[in-house]
Amino acid sequence: MTTNPQIPNAEVLLSRLEQKLTPLIQPQTAIIGIHSGGAWIAERLLPLLQQAHPDCSLVFGTLDSSFYRDDYHQRGLHTETRPSQISFDVENRHIILLDDVFYTGRTIRAAMNELFDYGRPASITLAVLVDRGGRELPICPQVAAIQLELPFEQKLQLSRDDNNLLHFSLEANA
């Protein structure tokens, strides 16, 4: 298999993201991944970040923002809706919100809306593997492992293999 030079290596980006996030961890930090790519990233980063800060006890959650999306009336409810799992009190937490690819900003808007239905966090930091540009809302990630310009027709899709390793692939945008 030849590697398309345009497709970033997700594992490389993951360690870059880890390096960028490590200094940001505080005692009250919670890591929340957006279903499904962000959740995989959060799962991988959690033990690493915890190791770097043995004094902080990090908590972990996942979000599925399907119920908050603004394109629900065009797309309907996704058939694979998963429950959000946030088993800790969001109130006054410093939240690191993780997603794989940052694009229009609408997913993040929906995720933040949902998050606020759980309580009032002290802060939210958005961290992504790829910031591909094209935002439609005044939202942008504080931390991105890489910035890329991608044509509209293309979609960067994250997948996870049997060894828990992450890969990006390019797909046509539906």
Partner: protein, 317 residues
């Protein structure tokens, strides 16, 4: 024959009955309901899915419980909710069902939740509403009560996830029960290998075995080794007459007591769609006992109804 509750693309347009619903749609409803169970446990129990939509509960037959759970479900989805008890208003003035439905359509309702004493009423309404409107059957005569059937199946799945390895017994007035019919269709579609009905012959439809169930008349045989015991409500007016001699005799033969429950598997769960007649179909010791999941049923009822409403509303063009 085209299934009137599906769109041409095979998506759910109305929820009228669990009969003939593809397994994939049943699972989609149950999976989505899982997500809504999480929503109910949060500080803010609302999601904005149906914001700006109007859900209209039209109850041609009164039912406080069902109506309330649908209201809560719709409100948790941020919909505007109107409730009409038609039994007490327009029907007595000679307005037909269609008049009522057309009036509400003109008020730009998006979804109708309908209950009616006549079998087939929800199908009838679904056939005559404007194409953008979704109809949910909240009980029609003896025919169907799909959200109740689904919430019962949801409850079973939560406690007994392996549906392919289950024995379920449904006890009581199957003849008049829309709940039983909806449960039976949902369970058989989801692959439950053995569904039993236990009742005297007076409370069973003539060809109940055609629904894919095994028929028992004796609790001691029928309850043997079952995983799920579903009790049905016995309406007061059926207790004395030609169907049954008395509530006492019914309880003696078909009431669920700890002794009879002991015949089921030790980890069997006990269910009831409510409202219960304690001492008629179920002993309080059992209803409030460790194997009872009757209250979780009520909780899950809201999640299942939220799931149905959000899937339907999402299937609009």
């Amino acid at each position: 024959m085209h299934n009137p509750q599906l769109t041409k693309e095979g998506k759910l347009q109305h929820l009228l009955t669990t009969e003939g619903l593809p397994r994939a749609i049943l699972n989609q409803i149950l999976d989505t309901a899982e997500s809504f169970v999480g929503v109910a446990e949060r500080e803010v129990k609302k999601v904005p899915l149906l914001r700006g939509k109007t859900v209209c509960n039209i109850f041609f037959e009164n039912s406080t419980r069902t109506r309330t759970t649908f209201e809560i479900a719709a409100k948790r989805l941020s919909a505007d909710v109107i409730t009409l008890n038609v039994s007490t208003s327009s029907q007595s003035k000679g307005e037909t069902i269609l008049d009522t439905v057309n009036n509400l359509t003109a008020m730009h309702a998006d979804m109708f939740v309908v209950r009616h004493a006549e079998s087939g009423a929800a199908h009838f309404i679904a056939r005559h509403v404007a194409p953008h409107i979704h109809v949910i059957n909240a009980g029609d005569g003896r025919h169907a009560h799909p959200t109740q059937g689904l919430l019962d199946v949801f409850t079973i799945r939560r406690y007994k996830p392996d549906m392919h390895n289950l024995r379920v017994a449904i006890i009581g007035d199957v003849l008049h029960s829309r709940v039983a019919r909806s449960e039976i269709h949902a369970l058989t579609t989801l692959g439950v290998p053995e569904v039993r009905v236990i009742a005297p012959k007076t409370l069973l439809p003539q060809h109940v075995e055609k629904l894919g169930v095994q028929v028992y008349h004796d609790m001691n045989e029928g309850l043997k080794d079952v995983d799920v015991v579903m009790m049905l409500r016995l309406q007061n007016e059926r207790m004395n007459g030609a169907l049954l001699p008395s509530a006492q005799e019914y309880f003696k033969c078909y009431g669920l007591t700890p002794e009879k429950l002991a015949l089921a598997k030790p980890d069997a769960i006990v269910m009831h769609p409510g409202p219960m007649n304690r001492g008629v179909e179920i002993d309080s010791v059992v209803a409030d006992g460790g194997q009872s999941v009757i209250l979780p049923q009520v909780t899950y009822g809201i999640a299942v109804r939220m799931a149905v409403m959000s899937i339907l509303a999402g299937n609009s063009e």
